[in-house]
């Protein structure tokens, strides 16, 4: 009969889990542990005025000096930018831009004159900047073979499918394959200082030390087995839009030739935004108190190889000094000052609100 299966259980809530007096059946009561009865010791924070208001004031008081520091640092960074695309007919590179052809044997050279009003101290970094160039387009970003760039011999002759259509040139595989490598920036920029006698002094530009150390020494490696790079790359073709093959990027320096050429490495690090700048050369600081770039007239000699007008892009050259926070960017400083002020003001407002309405919480009139 069903009723005989009824158990005589202790129902008193405070009785701990002892088995029933009959001893016939197991006690099905859950354990009276803190975990199973949801009584674990816990920290129960609530938002009180004593915690929120000081937090707002402290944040406000910390942010404003940080913001001022950032803004002053950014203002002390010297930066000079010049667009040399050659869009308007009175710009020096207009002819080079207009008459650009892919099959040119004679490179087009144009010269841009500019003046630095202030001397640049310490190391000066020369960047090239591109605008409206979508290095972050999905098909473009995927179009590379990291194994080939790491020196893998099998990938050298059989690159990844992602590199299509820049994978093979006829029957021969391209090294380095892919659209990113194919669109390597190949303008040459040379800087001259024009002194008071109108004589041109070339500013020494250092081309090593511009790529990330991890890139140069780990990620990018030349194919192994042959220190003669011409032989190492013999079964490959150069990318379609390159003038020279990869082992001729810098024949004078074997540590900067082939895949480990630093200009190539810098270009292969795809930018995240359509307007970007990439490090081109470094101008080392001079010993003593001479400024690295004294103020005065300068001449920039450009070998115009890189066409950007077809997609309405722009090219520019930037000279910049560096600080502990990087390049010139007033945004962080202004943002910190703004947020700090708003925080402080909000703290004051909350203090007023708390002062006027605080009695509501402390009153015991919880409606029943």
């Amino acid at each position: 009969m069903m009723a005989s299966s009824y158990n005589a259980k202790e129902e008193d809530g405070h009785h701990s889990g002892a088995s029933s007096g009959t001893g016939l059946s197991k006690n099905k009561k859950p354990d009276n542990t803190a975990f199973k009865q949801q009584r674990l010791p816990a920290w129960q924070p609530i938002l009180t005025a004593g915690s929120v208001l000081p937090a707002f004031f402290v944040i406000g008081l910390i942010f404003i000096p940080i913001g001022i520091g950032l803004y002053v640092t950014s203002n002390n960074i010297k930066e000079f930018e010049i667009d040399y695309t050659g869009v308007s007919s009175d710009s020096p590179c207009y002819n080079c831009a207009k008459n650009f052809t892919w099959n040119t044997t004679e490179p087009c050279v144009c010269t841009v004159n500019f003046t630095l009003l202030q001397p640049f101290e310490s190391n000066v970094f020369m960047y090239y900047g591109l605008s409206n160039f979508y290095q972050n387009h999905r098909r473009y970003v995927k179009s590379r073979d990291d194994r080939q760039l790491n020196g893998d011999l099998s990938a050298l002759t059989d690159p990844s499918k992602e590199c299509e259509p820049y994978r093979k040139s006829g029957d021969v595989s391209i090294a380095p394959c892919g659209a990113i490598a194919n669109s390597l920036f190949n303008d040459t920029l040379v800087l001259y200082y024009v002194d008071s006698n109108n004589s041109k002094i070339e500013v020494p530009l250092v081309k090593k030390g511009i790529a990330w150390w991890t890139d140069k020494h780990v990620k990018f490696r030349n194919p192994a087995g042959n220190s003669n790079l011409t032989l190492a790359f013999r079964d490959t073709a150069k990318p379609v839009n390159w003038a020279k093959p990869v082992y001729e990027l810098d024949p004078s320096d074997p540590d900067n030739n082939g895949f480990i050429n630093e200009d190539f490495i810098v270009w292969m690090r795809t930018a995240a935004l359509p307007t970007f700048r990439k490090l081109y050369r470094i101008i080392q600081k001079k010993s003593g108190t001479t400024p690295t770039l004294p103020n005065g007239n300068y001449m920039l000699n450009i070998t115009y190889n890189y066409p950007v007008l077809s997609f309405d892009g722009r090219k520019r050259m930037i000279l910049s000094t560096i600080s502990w926070m990087g390049g010139k960017n007033p945004f962080l400083g202004i943002a910190y000052i703004t947020v700090g002020s708003i925080c402080f003001f909000l703290g004051v407002v909350l203090l007023i609100i708390h002062h006027k309405y605080d009695n509501r919480n402390t009153s015991a009139d919880i409606p029943s």
Binding site: A3, I46, V52
Partner: protein
């Protein structure tokens, strides 16, 4: 009634197990219904609503950042995060903390829940997760995604490292956004969790530190040597995280997302405190002492009222009193106790009706 009710509760007892087998919840005494509703039901409702709201919020934030990036990548569906982060985000980095909140969260403990049954009202009125709440989570996610994308975007515009080298490469930008996003969603969860047990602490800190550990491992030399094509973001972690402007950007993003939430909640607590807020505040300032446990002899009812509609049932068996323990009958008055026995967690007493024993 069965069609309209939200849950069905069965009482197991002398009438058998039929109700137990066909109900959602079952227990042995009517008085447990109070605990079921006011304590466990209420906690369950709050946990579910918090869980749902937080899940929607974190996924809105995560996805809308990709949406804003589309305007800057030529609408080419390039992901702003790295692929492995997208895989791990919901499975590893944010799974455990939400689980912890959903299992352990309590706004007030059980004794206070029983003492103030009015706390049950928000569940009945569907206040914590309705269309308005959903839209507010959506707007909150949208706002946070705007901050998480545009503050790093503005800060990294034409930015470089402090040794002049590149920092706005796609891997570094992705890593910065990922870090901002994770810190913001973990802090939002911390604000939502009202009951911090050791398990909650463990899950949240494990997830945050685990993110950094996993990222650094994935972007390290070892993984790159083994799978160069799968881990292309090699070097991003160590070259990004040693830059002060990256950390300053992360800090600014985190505060801009969290401070409005704190300010709003504080203002609402001050201007329009709900019953919940008042009880939590009271719980902090007063201690509700538990009454001393009193063991009272349980009085079992000697009769039960029941009916089977389809068959005669066991009526004769029950009323024959064959298996009842004979106790001395006591005359009990109605309403012997003046204070609430529910509060003291004692069994309630019912008036017993003595019947003439029937001959079987």
């Amino acid at each position: 009634m069965i069609k309209v009710a939200h849950i069905g509760v069965g009482i197991s007892g002398q009438e058998g197990m039929q109700a137990v087998l066909s109900s959602d919840f079952s227990f042995a005494q009517f008085r447990y219904l109070q605990r079921l509703l006011l304590v466990h039901g209420r906690w369950s409702y709050i946990r579910m609503c918090k869980f749902l709201g937080y899940f929607f919020y974190k996924n809105f934030t995560f996805t809308l950042v990709q949406f804003w990036y589309a305007f800057f990548c030529g609408f080419s569906a390039q992901t702003v995060y790295e692929d492995w982060f997208i895989t791990f985000y919901n499975m590893v980095y944010t799974a455990l903390p939400v689980l912890g909140m959903c299992l352990f969260d309590q706004d007030v403990n059980d004794r206070w829940s029983l003492y103030h049954p009015q706390l049950y009202a928000p569940g009945q009125k569907n206040q914590y997760f309705n269309k308005k709440a959903f839209v507010s989570y959506l707007i909150h996610g949208c706002y946070c995604s705007l901050i998480i994308f545009f503050i790093p975007w503005a800060s990294m515009n034409d930015a470089v490292r402090n040794d002049g080298k590149d920092i706005v490469s796609h891997p570094s930008f992705a890593f910065l956004l990922q870090t901002c996003l994770l810190i913001v969603v973990h802090t939002q969860l911390s604000l939502d969790t009202y009951y911090w047990t050791a398990v909650n602490h463990f899950f949240v800190w494990l997830s945050t530190i685990g993110y950094f550990a996993i990222s650094v491992t994935m972007y390290s030399n070892g993984m790159f040597y083994v799978f160069p094509s799968s881990f292309p973001l090699f070097g991003a972690a160590r070259n990004t995280l040693n830059q002060p402007n990256v950390w300053l950007t992360i800090f600014l993003t985190f505060l801009l997302c969290i401070l409005p939430v704190v300010a709003f909640r504080f203002i609402f607590i001050q201007l329009r405190p709900t019953i919940n807020d008042k009880v939590r505040y009271k719980m902090r300032t007063e201690e509700l002492t538990a009454p001393a446990p009193r063991r009272l002899l349980r009085r079992r009812s000697t009769r039960s009222g029941y009916a089977f509609s389809h068959s005669q049932g066991y009526g004769d068996l029950v009323t024959s009193r064959k298996f009842l323990i004979k106790r001395p009958l006591k005359m009990t008055a109605l309403f012997t106790q003046t204070d609430s026995s529910i509060f003291q967690n004692q069994p309630q007493h019912y008036r017993t009706i003595a019947e003439e024993p029937q001959s079987p």
